[in-house]
Amino acid sequence: MIVTTLLLIGVGLFAGIAGAILGLGGGIIITPVLTLAMGLDIKYAIGASIIAVIATSSGSTIAYLRDEVLNLRVAMFLEIATTIGGIAGALLTGILDPKWLYLLFGALLVFSGWNMWRKLRRGQEIVSDVKPDRLATKLKLNSSYYDKVEMKQIDYQVERVPQGFLVMLGAGLASGMLGIGSGAFKVTAMDTFMKMPLKPSSATSNLMMGVTAAASATVYFFNGSILPNIAVPLALGILVGAVLGSRIMQVLPARVIRMIFVPVILLIGLQMLYKGIMGVN
């Protein structure tokens, strides 16, 4: 009992650090550990993952808000898309074949991973030739953040707001229907489509995924999918890990974060493509 609890706290700690740095929910770490290593039913693994997403989000957001890394307006604006997408996803379950969603979103992540890899090779982190976007100006989305590595305030502009909004709508749909990819799509939409720098993208993704997860969490909570003896030690570890991760992220060069991000996002994308092709649900 104590050994299992300590193990879960340790897994949570690691997932929290990684999740806070990359802006992902940590399901890619937690689900395999719970199902493959501990032999837990997938239903309970998903329940624990939902709690993990919220713990990562709330734990890291405290520091990201204080240090003004994240973009609150972008988060609020795009949350309209993710929450509507989430509802649509819940309603379409059983009507729409998830196979096509796996294929579509798997391809999107692979495309995004390839795009990020190209960005890495060009070696240019901050995109300075972003075209002024009327919608972004109207919605006051352009902002700045203090980069602790470069030791300077970095101003950035947000581009292609409608495309970002559409990807978020899809992201909400996918996570509502498939229960995955809560963070990967959000970082993709902001970094790849809206041309936001990686650090604010990751921090803003962290903030947003908590709200998306909270909507479905109550369902899992009341139908008994969230086992307290599994989810609580995991959540406690994640909270500590996310607080640490949100500090580590700020002192890591954006390039390093991208180097970790690219294989992770490719892995998630390929996994989804595999599920789409094999028809595994």
Partner: protein
């Protein structure tokens, strides 16, 4: 290339600090309650206070279990507090944007809260 008014930046700092503080309080409360439940569970030798494979899942059983200091019930309360923290953040954001007279974002954030409430309702009826 930055052409945003100074006020927007100061305003954002205020809003972010306000939301951050309240979020922190929520997270700390959730963590303490979960930790108390977990410690009780370990002290009880892994006995959550319910039959094996069972846990309280209705509000009334969770509350009555908490009154009897049952570990699983307290852990469920802690997790429920954690689930509420993102919702709390949205609610506080509406107030913060309102105080800073950013009406556009009062509407946007209110819309998010309404959609969130709709999804809660749909989630419980589907």
């Amino acid at each position: 290339m930055a052409n945003k008014p100074e006020s927007t930046e100061k305003e954002m700092a205020h809003i972010e600090i306000m939301i951050g503080r309240i979020l922190q309080i929520g997270v700390v409360i959730a963590a303490i309650v979960m930790l108390i439940g977990l410690i009780l569970l370990l002290v009880n030798g892994g006995d959550g206070g319910y039959a094996v494979g069972h846990q309280p899942t209705t509000i009334s059983t969770i509350l009555s279990g908490t009154a009897h200091m049952k570990p699983y019930a307290i852990m469920m309360v802690g997790m429920f507090c954690l689930i509420l923290t993102p919702v709390l953040r949205v609610v506080v954001s509406i107030y913060a944007f309102y105080k800073e007279h950013d009406h556009l974002y009062v509407w946007i954030t209110t819309a998010v809260l309404i959609i969130l409430c709709v999804s809660f309702i749909i989630g419980h009826t589907v």
